[in-house]
Amino acid sequence: MARSQVLHFADNFSATIAIAAWRTKPSWMIVAGGDRTINPDLERWYAKRAGSHTVEVAGASKVTIVEPGGFRTDFAGSSTQLSEGHPEYDATVGTTARFQRDYNGKQPGDPKKAAPAIVQVTQEQKPPLRLLLGSDAYKRAEKNDLARLEDAKTWKELSLSTDFESEFPHPARTK
C-alpha cells in the first residue's frame, strides 16, 4: 500500500479556495474518530461551522475476544499426545489425560457453526468485547459471573462505606 501511494502536488495544500461550495449547498461530514491524517477534532470543527449533517464513525479497528467452550476440532484427539505419566501423578495428570481422551468427540460445539458466528460479529457495528461460543462456555461464564455478583452483593455495604459521603457506617479503625 505504501508503495502504491499517489504523490500529491505540494502546492495544492496551500491553494486558496475562491468559493467554498458548502456555503451554498447542503453538506454531510463523516468524521473518522481514529483519523491520524486529519485530526478528528478538525473534522468536527469544520462540520459544526458548516452546519453539516454529521455522522461519526469510531476508530475502525474493533476487538472481539472469542471465548469458546469445547468444540470437536480433534484438538484433544490425534493432534494431542496423551501420556498417563508417573503413577505418583495419577490423581492429577492421569485424571486429566483420561478426561481429555474420553471427552474427545463428545464436545457440544460444532466447529462448522463456530466459524460463521465469528464472521457475523465482524460485520456488526457494535461487536461484543467478548463472544461466548457454545452452551458449555455460556453456562460456565454465567455461573462464574453470578457467583461474583452474589459476593459483591453480600459485601455491598462495606464496599459503599468508604466514600467521603456514605449512608453506610464505616468500620471503626482497629487499634
Binding site: 500500500m1 501511494q5 504523490l7 463523516i30 481514529g34 478538525l42
Partner: protein, 129 residues
C-alpha cells in the same frame, strides 16, 4: 462522483445511483476543478460529490456553481471556507501525520508519506500488506 472509493461506488450503483469515480490529476489545483466539472453533466441523476482522501476540489470549490450538484459529502475530509487554505486549517488541530514528520517532498514539488510510517499513519485499520 467519488474520487477513489471503489467499494462505496459499487454500493451506490447497487442502490440505483449513477456513480462515477474520478481520479483528479495530481497537478495544480485548478486542473482538478477542470477535470471534475464535466462529470455530472453526463450523469442522469443529481449528484452528491464525495470528497474522499483524495483532493476535493469539486467539493471545495466547483460544486458551488454547478446546478447539478445537490449536496456535498465530506468523508473524513478538509472543509475549508472561501479564502482559506487547507494547510492553514490543518494548524487549528494538528494531526498525528503533521506531527510525525513523515511527510516527505520530492525535488519537483510532490509530497508523499514516508513508506516506513505509511501504514500506521494512513491505514492503521487495514492489513499491513
Amino acid at each position: 462522483m467519488v474520487p477513489g472509493r471503489k467499494a462505496f461506488t459499487t454500493f451506490l450503483s447497487r442502490n440505483g445511483y449513477n456513480a462515477s469515480i474520478v481520479q483528479e490529476p495530481e497537478t495544480p489545483f485548478q486542473d482538478h476543478v477542470t477535470a471534475t466539472t464535466g462529470i455530472p453533466r453526463s450523469a442522469r441523476r443529481p449528484e452528491h460529490p464525495c470528497r474522499a482522501q483524495l483532493w476535493g476540489s469539486r467539493n471545495y470549490e466547483s460544486g458551488h456553481t454547478d446546478p447539478s450538484v445537490v449536496g456535498l459529502v465530506y468523508v473524513a475530509a478538509h472543509m475549508p471556507d472561501s479564502g482559506e487554505k487547507e494547510s492553514d486549517d490543518g494548524k487549528r488541530f494538528p494531526s498525528d501525520l503533521a506531527k510525525s514528520g513523515a511527510i516527505k517532498k520530492t525535488p519537483d514539488g510532490f509530497t508523499y508519506i514516508d513508506p516506513a510510517q505509511f501504514h500506521g499513519l494512513f491505514a492503521a485499520d487495514l492489513p499491513s500488506d
